[in-house]
């Protein structure tokens, strides 16, 4: 049954207005871009957690390959209450042994995009993502084409 209008006590200026693309938006876009290249055999999702005191947020770009039942964090971006500055750090998935984690500080959306482009082009990252795509393609026989 239709219900009565909902009482809304939130301030009018809580949402809306000019907001630069936050790290979560940029990451989600890249997750979707990967899906667009693979017919969604492999795509990215963003999983966010807060620091407990509500002052820091961590966004994980999760690499998701449904046919492999695989869901792994590829990248971690940490921000404060404002979207920038933010820190981008790789995860155990691609970290090279005996070396420091790949990490960058970014001050705006453009720097974050440049940073992601650099990370996605790292040979070890490309190799891993390519392998996941190829494995996912094996689910459907070659007679049906490849993603």
């Amino acid at each position: 049954m239709p219900t009565a209008p909902m009482l809304d006590l939130w301030p009018d200026d809580l949402v809306g207005g000019p907001v630069p693309s936050s790290p979560i938006g940029v990451l989600r876009q890249q997750g979707e871009a990967l899906g667009a290249r693979t017919h969604n055999f492999v795509h990215g999702e963003v999983q966010t957690s807060d620091s407990g005191d509500g002052k820091r947020f961590t966004h994980f770009l999760m690499l998701v390959a449904p046919f492999l039942r695989l869901r792994r964090a590829l990248l971690k971006v940490t921000q404060g209450l404002e979207p920038y500055p933010a820190t981008v750090v790789e995860t155990e998935l691609t970290k090279e042994p005996n070396q420091n984690e790949w990490s960058r500080d970014v001050n705006n959306e453009r720097e974050l995009q440049d940073c992601l482009r650099e990370f996605f082009n790292e040979p070890r990252v490309k190799q891993f993502v390519r392998t996941v795509i190829n494995l996912s393609n094996d689910v459907v026989g070659p007679e049906n084409g490849n993603a």
């Binding site: 017919h39 969604n40 449904p66 459907v140 049906n144 084409g145």
Partner: protein, 274 residues
């Protein structure tokens, strides 16, 4: 409009032409959700390629049941909140729209189990739906699936089961008290498809009786059930048994499903104005 289609594709292979038919079904009905029973991952993969030719729109929801679900739009809008091998219950959140629960089911087969077993599994499904409704705090629920039971089966009609009734006016009353417990209704629109002289098949699957005393010939195993809260968004043509896809008929003579073309089950769809 929000549209869901369900089809038991009978284990058809990706090379059988079933992918083309499912794609045609989605386009014809403008479906937002495709639920498939007896569907291999090979079919899902081929479907994703067919539905996402250039851009990313359709995603495969990794349900924990034997029902496969593909959704249009951001996957985060749909979450599986309850499941069993035979069913998944999905919470749907879309911006600017009411929240929904979608149950998709493929209950055990009558070929291998007794009527009583099927009824008990349907009652377990009904319990899970009630639990999920408590969890999300609303009853905007629609159930689609191959129940392997007719609309008059014990598990479908009893209060402890799905409590699905034929008249819309009765369903609109919300529920009924039975022995100090109140049970919500489902409205079951599938009853209207029974009988001769209708404009669509009188069931979703047909089985030759082969000597049994009890034989219905036609069965309405694939059903759509709707909670009263969603009936304001329901119209008389909201639920259909799909028997043609463009110029392709899914049936042979007397509307009997043509397994050589599609499946031994016909697809069903619901379209809600919400």
């Amino acid at each position: 409009m929000f549209c869901v289609v369900f089809w038991n594709i009978g284990g058809k292979s990706p090379q059988s032409g079933i992918v083309r038919l499912i794609t045609a079904l989605q386009r014809q009905e403008d479906a937002d959700v495709i639920a498939l029973a007896e569907c291999s991952e090979g079919v899902i993969g081929s479907l994703l390629r067919a539905l996402n030719p250039k851009s990313q729109t359709w995603e495969w929801i990794q349900t924990q049941s034997r029902v496969s679900v593909l959704v249009r739009g951001p996957q985060s809008a749909i979450t599986e909140i309850n499941n069993h091998e035979y069913y998944s219950i999905l919470a749907v959140q879309r911006p600017q729209h009411i929240r929904l629960l979608i149950g998709v089911a493929h209950i055990i087969s009558r070929v291998y189990h007794e009527f009583d077993d099927v009824d008990e599994e349907i009652k377990a499904l009904a319990d899970s739906i009630r639990d999920a409704e408590v969890q999300v705090g609303h009853t905007n629920t629609v159930l689609l699936g191959d129940l392997n039971a007719n609309p008059f089966a014990q598990g479908v009609v009893t209060a402890r089961g799905l409590h699905a009734v034929m008249p819309r006016a009765v369903a609109m009353q919300g529920g009924r008290q039975v022995l100090h417990r109140v049970y919500s209704y489902f409205f079951n629109p599938m009853w209207k498809f029974f009988g001769d002289g209708t404009t669509s098949p009188p069931g979703t699957c047909y089985y030759a009786p082969e000597g049994s005393h009890r034989a219905f010939h036609w069965n309405m195993y694939d059903q759509v059930l709707i909670r009263p809260g969603l009936l304001p968004y329901y119209a008389n043509d909201s639920v259909q048994i799909v028997h043609t896809l463009g110029t392709n008929s899914l049936t042979k003579a007397n509307w009997i499903p043509d397994r050589d073309v599609g499946s031994d089950h016909l697809p069903i769809r619901i379209r809600l104005s919400c």
